[in-house]
């Protein structure tokens, strides 16, 4: 559809774009990324014929672009301009009608039904018919941009070039605009090439990305291959982290600012735990990076209050989350800062212990109610509802953990818990076999992300060893306390 072959060029003598080659297929959306001055806008201007090229060729539909007349070119390629002010104002409809310019010929060329249809369609697809007769200068920036998209659509060119189309737009308008363009690409098979400033938007809306560096192509490919930490860091010179989008298989980046000095070194100690009559709480000076299966604020995040709340055995509420949220609020916890679990075990049976390794210390807190223990290997045949009887395990690490270490820590902690159940001969009352856990166990791993870097937390790593030992130790003690409270024979 559109082929750029060995194109160099730019303003003046020195070429800004150097020997760039790529192809864009029909219906594809290609995003051009790159730092300021990397030549991305220049490349677009060369493709659209605004700037001359020194070498190479641009081929559109198998024909050299420079052989098209200006009007023929405009029938093939529409360009969405960046917003700018103008001296005299047209109405919205007049502006969109200008998009039909390349389709008109002759001195008295009259307005055809085809022209009218294209303009009406363009106006409708951008939902701007409401102000078709208004002057465009009376519209907001977002509305104006939609008018110009409609103008480009009225051109009915199979290729659309955009230069930072979301400049000056708020996020709602950014989304609206890019959704529409994406939809047009799907509906009409439009080929879209767009320069983006925002890497995340480009990743979300483009099929492929082209990363430019000093006038050359640094990388080209699907977003997963281009939005990579090392590529972005080396081209932009900014520290970033790449993470998957929560809903789509597209990478998103986050800046890593150099503001660590704002958080003074701190460690979590056993004294930070407080035990009240109906909850155990840990309050830390700064937020900990946390992953958990808690009731309140499950998942990953940064939190500084951790609550394990005691509820009665017959606690039975329809909306557990809402009830728990209002409880935490009443107790004075800052909701966005707090992770909350629940247990039927009374707070005095909480086991909290600090363990010291070569790298530093970890803290383990366990409450174990094993009245409803389950052997997970035989759980397939069960059909009862989960009942109260929970082992809640917290692992707090004074150290820096990468994502994989968090997951390994969870595995290690779970294995240690299961071993504790086995050693304490806790059985699944239904099957009579040794239980592996209970039906509603919860686990939390949190780290200060300071001090020693701990790359792994498998069972024979320094951290893993400590977690394994600590969780086993605390769980056994918690089970014994539970048994004692229930009057079971040990």
């Amino acid at each position: 559809m559109l082929k750029v072959d060995n194109v160099s060029g730019g303003y003046g003598k020195e070429s800004i774009v150097k020997a760039v080659t790529f192809t864009v297929n029909k219906g594809e959306v290609l995003g051009i990324l790159g730092p300021n001055g990397s030549g991305k806008s220049t490349l677009l201007k060369i493709i659209s014929g605004i700037l001359p090229k020194e070498t190479g060729s641009v081929t559109i539909d198998g024909q050299d672009a420079s052989t098209y007349s200006q009007k023929e070119f405009a029938k093939k390629v529409a360009v969405l301009p960046q917003l700018h002010a103008h001296a005299f104002s047209h109405t919205v409809r007049e502006t969109v009608e200008l998009g039909r310019y390349p389709h008109q010929s002759g001195l008295f060329s009259s307005w055809s039904d085809e022209d009218e249809r294209a303009v009406t369609n363009a106006i409708n697809s951008m939902s701007i018919s409401r102000y078709a007769d208004n002057s465009i200068e009376l519209l907001s920036g977002g509305e104006q941009q939609r008018v110009f998209v409609a103008q480009a659509l009225a051109q009915e060119a199979p290729i659309l070039l955009l230069d930072e189309p979301t400049n000056h737009l708020d996020i709602a308008h950014q989304q609206q605009l890019l959704d529409t363009i994406r939809q047009q690409a799907i509906d009409k098979g439009l080929t879209v090439i767009s320069v983006f400033h925002d890497i995340n938007l480009a990743s979300l809306y483009c099929d492929r990305l082209l990363l430019m560096d000093k006038g050359k192509i640094a990388r080209i490919g699907v977003p997963q291959d281009v939005v990579k930490e090392e590529a972005i860091q080396s081209v932009y010179g900014a520290r970033i982290k790449s993470q998957p989008h929560p809903e789509l298989p597209k990478p998103q980046i986050t800046l890593l600012p150099d503001t660590k000095e704002e958080i003074k070194p701190f460690t979590v100690v056993k004294e930070d735990f407080s035990i009240a009559s109906d909850f155990v709480a840990l309050r830390t000076k700064y937020p900990l990076k946390t992953i958990s299966s808690a009731v309140h604020n499950a998942g990953t995040g940064w939190y500084r209050s951790f609550v394990n709340r005691h509820v009665d055995v017959d606690y039975n509420v329809d909306d557990v989350k809402a009830e728990n949220t209002s409880y935490l609020e009443q107790q004075g916890f800052h909701l966005t800062d707090t992770v909350g679990m629940m247990t039927a075990v009374t707070t005095e049976h909480t086991e909290v212990e600090e363990y010291t390794g070569d790298f530093g210390t970890i803290l383990i807190a366990v409450t174990a109610g094993v009245g409803n223990a389950v052997d997970v290997s035989l759980a397939l045949t069960r059909d009862q509802k989960p009942r109260v009887g929970t082992i809640n395990t917290w692992v707090i690490v004074n150290g820096q953990l990468p994502d994989e270490a968090f997951i390994q820590a969870m595995i290690t902690a779970t294995e240690a818990k299961t071993k504790a159940l086995q050693m304490e001969s806790i059985t699944d009352p239904l099957t009579g076999t040794i239980a592996t856990g209970t039906s509603t166990d919860s686990l939390l791993v949190a780290a200060t992300q300071q001090g020693e870097f701990l790359p792994y937390a498998g069972p024979i790593t320094p951290l893993g060893k400590l977690i394994g030992h600590g969780v086993y130790d605390c769980t056994v003690r918690a089970i014994r306390a539970y048994k004692k409270a229930k009057g079971w024979t040990i």
């Binding site: 200006q70 103008h86 104002s89 047209h90 007049e94 998009g99």
Partner: protein, 331 residues
């Protein structure tokens, strides 16, 4: 009825009224029926056909030329302050005219037409120098380059004018009178002289009405919409210069019409050049015919230079329309 049809009807009616008033009113009142009444008074017929009518037609052509080229230049240069004189072409025309007066040049076979012919030559030379220099400086001929080149040439030629005025003796009154602008006592021959230029120049601009619409969004945008910007720009500049040069050559530098008529037209009927050019043409003619009528009747028998009246009448009218429109929130 669409807004544009209303615009054309109103403008045409105004022009007809202006022509009617222009030929009827004066030291001798002449009924409009003299135009077609063969049995009318011979003196009246004479005054009408030999004096009033050519004067009205010439005023109309000059006003129309200045207004349409003003509209095109404002659109092309995207500058509301642009007018037909921005390019400096009028200064060239003035230098040519003043030179004939200053040196008392009279080419035998040209006779009284020496001045307008010299003036047109001055305008043409200036146009080629301005456009050639602008192209030399900047091959892309950006609007800023054109405006600056116009200013450079305009001020240079202006100083040549001032020099001649400073050194002149008894021709001073004649020179100043010409510079202030007038359409009196020109006769039909002046009309036949400028008519071809008015037709060609106006046609060149009108041919580019859609392109002017596109160029209001900037040259880059126009390029993307499929306009051959370079060629179209050249056509518009040359067309406008032809109109301006010929208008100045026959009537002197009449101000205000080229600047303000396009604005008034835009305020009233919108800035779509498909209509703006033609409507400005009509309204420019109307305004100058009315102004000329006032110029020759207000302190009759003394005639004022029409250039004095255009701004005197035009400015308050413009102020009124401007006020009305802004209060309405339009424009």
């Amino acid at each position: 009825m669409s807004k544009s049809s209303v615009a054309y009807i109103v403008s045409a009616a105004a022009l007809l009224v202006a022509v009617w008033l222009g030929v009827s009113i004066g030291s001798v009142k002449i009924p409009i029926s003299t135009l077609w009444n063969a049995g009318a008074d011979a003196t009246a017929t004479n005054i009408l056909w030999k004096i009033r009518m050519p004067r009205v037609v010439l005023a109309g052509l000059v006003g129309a030329s200045l207004a349409i080229s003003g509209a095109a230049f404002q659109g092309l240069l995207k500058n509301p302050l642009a007018d037909p004189y921005t390019l400096g072409v009028s200064s060239g025309a003035s230098v040519g005219a003043v030179m004939t007066l200053f040196f008392g040049i009279s080419i035998p076979f040209l006779g009284i037409y020496t001045l307008p012919v010299f003036s047109m030559v001055g305008a043409a030379l200036t146009m080629f120098f301005v456009l050639g220099f602008a192209r030399l400086v900047d091959r892309a001929m950006r609007m800023e380059t054109i405006i600056l080149t116009g200013i450079i040439f305009g001020s240079f030629l202006g100083s040549v004018l001032s020099l001649m005025i400073a050194l002149t003796g008894e021709e001073l009154r004649q020179i100043i009178g010409w510079l202030l602008g007038s359409v009196s006592m020109r006769g039909w021959s002046y009309i036949t002289m400028i008519l071809p230029f008015v037709v060609v120049g106006s046609f060149m601009l009108w041919m580019n009405r859609r392109e002017l619409n596109a160029m209001l969004f900037g040259e880059e945008r126009a390029h993307h919409l499929g306009v051959n910007v370079k060629r179209r720009k050249f056509t518009i500049l040359i067309g406008g210069s032809i109109l301006t040069g010929s208008a100045v050559a026959v009537s002197g530098t009449i101000g205000f019409v080229g600047l303000v008529v396009p604005h008034m037209t835009r305020l009233l009927w919108g800035s779509d050049h498909r209509h703006l050019l033609t409507l400005s043409f009509m309204n420019g003619a109307t305004l100058l015919i009315i102004c000329d009528l006032i110029a020759r009747t207000i302190i009759s028998p003394t005639e004022l230079p029409v250039g004095v009246i255009t701004a005197f009448i035009g400015a308050p009218v413009f102020a009124f329309i401007f006020y009305k429109q802004r209060r309405k929130g339009g424009m």
